[in-house]
Symmetry: C2
Subunit: 252 residues, 2 copies
């Protein structure tokens, strides 16, 4: 029997711009009798990382370009929101009413550049952008928790992405510090000594999917989950190591 | 603190055609002191379900069509394997050397129709197809375990899929009995009373991703994982409920 635990923290307070995330996560863990251990992977929702980093923008501050105005008609979105999406993106793959699929400046192909309007304090005029550098956000959390507890943990900043062909969202990693984004298993053999067919495992994305499953959405939100019991070795990979190079991608 | 456990069974024997999977899973659980409980979700790797159901085919039995021979050149694959992929599919989306992305007859858009050559007993001439009806396979496991233990569990048949835009594979659900494939959260509110932006959660895919994370590949394979502690209500959904209708898909 091999056991892995997904431990969701329930008592994090509302996070606002400037909140010390390390301190709040350690306080919540203390209150809930969760002591960090070497090898834990902390999955943190992008939303609270962005909030703590003050990545809020008032829609009223945005002046839509002609491109944004045109796309706002196609997508039936607020032209100022489209302007924000375009500003966060390096390209647009598809549009339809309600949806823009873009290449975010961080390299992720995602809906609406990950810009969020829910759960940001009730002010409908504010939008929340992804962290400036989610790998750096993850690294800062990793170092902060190591400094306070002495525990060598990994940190993943998670988001919820939709997917082509399949309905609904799953968790993915947009920032990583410690664990591999991509686990290369080429050369390994299966139980019959045959070369493995599956040779690259999206490790951090899979951990994020597991974490987001426990987070839930909405009122019962648990935006930080400790994943305990996985076997991993620290790497220097970042989220970009999980992106398929455009030239090798059949679906752009 | 909210805790979910992923409990991998380590002592399943090699599964062959005709193996009684329910009996072997119950025996392994017994040996490893894992007692099934109401609300557990058992994630079982497609590979052992297919093997138990005898979904093996000798390559030598396949006569490639003209289409298969042509695609074999494009993809540099064995023409008999291409014939098997085409037989399992209702359409081909993309091809390149080493890869065919097809629409499987079950509706999944996937690489090489999920046909597997590894870990099937060391006989390189044999291929393994997906189960005929993975939802029915899941339902049979669910009923068998309920009958033997009295526990109302859910069952998910998992596979590992690659994805556009992102490297590596993650677990997805190709068969489900009990849990929702897709969780509809429209109408729910977030902590600020605002309508949720993420309204549909790929629940079974996320559970499969968590399970596959613990399974590992290859020599240490643990092809059955019990997920304990998730909050779910039985539904009548099947894997098809997780497929995006072709007309709503921007990436075909």
């Amino acid at each position: 029997m091999t056991s892995v635990s997904l431990i969701g923290l329930n008592t994090l307070p509302t996070i606002t711009s400037g909140t010390d995330l390390v301190a709040e996560i350690l306080d919540a863990a203390d209150r809930e009798a969760v002591a960090f251990q070497d090898g834990d992977i902390l999955v943190v929702a992008q939303k609270i990382v962005s909030k703590a980093e003050g990545r809020l923008l008032p829609l009223s501050a945005l002046a839509p370009s002609a491109d944004a105005a045109r796309l706002a008609e196609v997508t039936q979105k607020d032209a100022r929101l489209v302007e924000a999406i375009l500003s966060e993106s390096v390209g647009t793959l598809r549009t339809r009413p309600g949806l823009m699929v873009v290449e975010h400046r961080l390299g992720h192909i995602m809906a609406n550049a990950g810009i969020d309007r829910s759960n940001i304090g009730g002010d409908a005029d504010m939008i929340l952008l992804l962290p400036e550098d989610p790998d750096a956000s993850a690294a800062a959390l990793r170092e902060g928790i190591a400094a306070a507890t002495g525990s060598e943990i990994g940190v993943i900043v998670s988001d919820s992405f939709g997917r082509p062909w399949r309905m609904g969202t799953t968790g993915v990693a947009i920032g990583v510090a410690g664990p591999a984004m991509l686990l290369d298993r080429r050369g390994e053999a299966d139980r019959d000594g045959r070369r493995l067919e599956v040779t690259e495992v999206a490790f951090a994305d899979s951990v994020a999917a597991a974490g987001v499953l426990v987070m839930g959405e909405g009122a019962e939100g648990r935006p930080a989950v400790v994943v305990r019991g996985l076997d991993w070795t620290p790497t220097h990979q970042g989220a970009r190591d999980g992106l398929r190079p455009a030239g090798q991608d059949l679906f752009r």
